[in-house]
Symmetry: D2
Subunit: 341 residues, 4 copies
């Protein structure tokens, strides 16, 4: 960390800051410039937690130079992490596609979806049993009943299953059924929930919060990992901006940025990012081309009757067509796609 002093700081101001830092067991390096004086802080920053240097007289600002996340940080990890979910490996050579309806609505709807996405080439079935909805009057999910249908769909198709969890109670219940638990965008900083999934050893799909910075996202991963669960996969799903032509703005740059900062795998959810069915194929291709390790795509057997997020769901035919188109792209990106041909 660097302490930048105000241009009108006195000698005494500087001395006081240095004393406080050294008192905490750290060392300092002083640089006096013509316009500005800066003090470099050498050592473990957490020792400074007892003093607020920003409030010392003469201090202009503090400039952090190291990241606050450690376990999710690429600097302290050899090679990329590969996370095993069911029979799939996310973060390795294979591109993994998760697909299925936004919400589990009925046994039939789910099984039909599962068969369709399996046939098209998906490896993981998605389906929401606990739905976080903006309005309390909107459909809230089938809860445990939905999880049972998911498990039945796995039984029949061999697909691994991923479900969102929205409370500690849901974590306990879902743990009995699912291969992967999803933390949704709205809960990315629900730290109690992060800790709870961190206490399991079930892989976690951590969606980026609607206005989370990449640094906050990696810190959220850190909450999970610091509880003992290293199996975290990140999912970019669009951020909130001023643009209203799409539901959210897909931050495609997050893919290479995460690859440069973290060893964790990252997939993209173009369905929630766009909120518009017709944009999903373009954004899926863009995501793979940018280096994503997989995709999460909403597929519904009958989108015009979906209880949640129908406008962004593909029907099975369109999803199947998209998977075919992705195959050649995945190949030239040097990745593989275990399509059931």
């Amino acid at each position: 960390m660097i302490v930048v002093m105000r241009h009108d700081a006195t000698e005494d101001n500087v001395k006081n800051v240095i004393q406080a830092i050294e008192y905490c067991g750290l060392t300092t390096h002083l640089s006096k410039g013509s316009e500005i004086t800066i003090i470099g802080v050498i050592g473990d920053k957490s020792k400074l937690s007892k003093v607020n240097l920003e409030l010392f007289s003469g201090v202009d600002k503090l400039v952090p130079v190291t990241e606050s996340y450690k376990l999710s940080n690429k600097k302290f990890h050899v090679g990329p992490s590969i996370i095993k979910v069911g029979n799939c490996e996310i973060g390795g050579k294979e591109i993994v596609i998760m697909a299925g309806p936004c919400a589990v609505e009925s046994r039939e709807q789910l099984l039909e979806s599962a068969r369709a996405v399996k046939k098209a080439g998906a490896q993981i079935l998605r389906g929401g049993a606990y739905k976080p909805r903006t309005s309390p009057y909107a459909f809230q999910g089938l809860e445990e009943e939905g999880l049972k249908y998911m498990a039945e769909a796995r039984e029949e198709t061999g697909l691994a299953i991923v479900c969102e969890v929205t409370s500690i109670h849901a974590v306990e219940t879902a743990a009995k059924y699912v291969d992967m638990m999803q933390i949704g965008a709205r809960n990315m900083q629900n730290f109690q929930l992060l800790k709870e999934v961190g206490k399991t050893n079930i892989p976690v799909l951590l969606k980026r919060g609607l206005c989370a910075t990449i640094e906050e996202w990696l810190n959220a991963a850190e909450y999970i990992m610091s509880e003992g669960n290293p199996n975290v996969v990140l999912c970019e799903r669009g951020i909130r901006t001023y643009e209203t032509a799409t539901r959210n703005t897909l931050d495609i740059s997050a893919v290479p940025v995460i690859k440069s900062k973290s060893h964790l795998p990252i997939i993209v959810d173009p369905s929630h990012a766009a909120g518009i069915r017709s944009l999903v194929p373009s954004l899926s291709k863009a995501s793979i081309a940018a280096g994503a390790d997989g995709l999460m795509i909403e597929v519904h057997p009958n989108p015009s009757c979906a209880l949640s997020d129908g406008p962004q769901s593909l029907n099975p035919e369109d999803f199947s067509k998209l998977c075919s188109e992705l195959k050649s792209l995945i190949k030239i990106m040097g990745r593989s796609f275990n399509c059931h041909e």
Copy 2:
């Protein structure tokens, strides 16, 4: 709701949409223009939950014309709500000031803070016992021990107390101690938590999410109210924008906008909005002038040693000075301030 058809929609497309709407038990009004055809939907929109009109052939878009929140909506409520917290009334003539440290750090720190803010004129003591922190390695709060110090401070000073709750477990514990529970910005769409505080009859201070729209915020209030707890006070605390000169951007317009849409009281937290101590007095005055019903201000007996958010905390002297300055402003706004003079 209005259904806008695409300019190339056929007669059949229009017929299908009308049939679907009428099948759900609603009535329609058709308007054919030279460029565009629109279909007005008359009746209770929730009956349409089984069809996704956006996906019908020929449909361009749906335009909602009524709000999804009802209980928090001004249209369906006579006069403003007044929420009683301890001996204070929020939303009436009185301006209520909540003040205290960001985090409860020790018995001494809290009692010293409580005496200071009481003396300056605050009616409610704030203090965090459960702290949601971006990094898992930052100070996380004293939990129940902190709540006990809060209750002791109330005993001594007569101040009502407000504490953030971050989990269902915290709600259960806090319910034994506090006069008001706070839902923090990061949990504004933690719907399980909203429902939980909705099941109590303890007043709730609902902070606006970091990138929540005003409509989402009122829907979050709706989650609490629809469980049976009508005692909700809204708190604007800054939203996330591209500007980095302040920690967040205080959306001062939210005050009159909320007053035009809802009967719930609204207060402002200038400390978290700005993140910079020196801006707090200006923003406090602006908030009162804009029509806010109160303020929440961070005060720490020794900001340079605060374990959380020190840079934005006022010391007791500055807080006392601010309260004095606010008095004349509050008066000309036609409000009152029960300052202990």
Copy 3:
């Protein structure tokens, strides 16, 4: 357009609105609902310019249902536009790559850049002679001297040339030299400048403003086209959001959105979007995969000595490598790349 009345609007309020609309020569359709009354407006909205319906008693809001741009609108144009620049065609089957330094710094620097980008496969040379810089103390460009070097580079290499224009004076000067004029992000709503390039018949590269919506961007194109110049190519270059990990946030969805709304070609500038050299290859691939018609990439023979935007410039070797990698991607996208192999 649709007029939504307030729920407490009286019969008279509704009558007055209808009279005003019909007085302007338009017709109306009235839909009365249980909660809300709406009035559809049929006909040419511009006739309403004399009245502000939003201000009539009882009016809640106006909802536009048609776009304000016509010439750039896909609805009123058969097939995509193909814009000829030098010997290239943008918007057809071919993917066009524009490359070169951010700023023209010297004859040698420019010629060296031109040879390198030509060799790697670029068809158009970019280079700024008029530089809009945030600070008045930063390098402002070589102006006409820079244009002369650009023309010389075209002479030698056969590349077409594109230069930014920042004033009416610059338009006049650049018109003598360039094959395409660029309107930069900061000038996207400099309407005088848009009109001025609209009066020429030189192709225009219209960059998206830093916080422009897609609708505003297409309206900016409309300014150029309505003056008589139909040769507009759009360029997505990142928008401003709260995320600071990249200089701007590349709005990759803008590519398919523009394709759905307009017949104009769209290219992407990943260099300015990211602001970080190492992200340019990933974002270039993502752009092509999303359906872009071309790319604009900063290439500098010696990025560490560039006077402007060095951190985001590729060196010739990296650019050449990227072009090779793009070839197979372009092919599977069904497009062609006239690489000099």
Copy 4:
């Protein structure tokens, strides 16, 4: 400036950076930490313009510690600037109110507006003769004819006049008529235009760009001032965010932030910020309470017939009422308001 080295930087990397800095005539201070090495750069940063340190091997990032604006910077100026416009002084004790219609539409409309705002207490008449409009098909202003009406209104009422200029041609024409020239939000980074008004000695009202940071805004002021015109008044008018309840988000914090960084006066335009007439009184009061030096308010004799921005215009009665209400607020803020009582 501070150079932060990557944690894997070699001794040679560090040496090369130091050599490059010292080669440019600057001195360095080296701080080696356990995790990180930093190099402080001492001296005039502009000497570094020939090298891009960010691109040197082993460099992680550069951290600027001083601002790029000098003339608008409070650090290098004694006391606040007071700008004289007609008979008013902006930035002194007096609160100055500019009011009038968004666009000059006719002689009658303007004179009527001028008399009304004069009577209510405004000191400066605003009115647009050159209108930057999103769509080329919207009303574009009366140009010089409008300026003549403005001058006539000054003649009759004694009000000073301010008009927006949108091109170099408009600057030349307006210079013959107006007391103050306005640079609109869309032109805040039209650097040619900034330089042009900088060459006059007419006071300039510089509106903040729609997504400009405070630092960019002060750099835009620097463009004007560095050409020789020190008479700049800043105007906050709302920034673009994700929130759609208001047209823009008024960044009220910009008022105290500007006061902390610059000696220039700052006023607020609540009409454009909100875009909704009913919010203007609250936001006007908030602005004065936050420390603004004045207000710019849209007033139209008949808002429902305004050709531009009618929904946000006050009628003369409401404006007069607002001015009365502001009087007592202005007084308790320790400012004065030369109201014609």
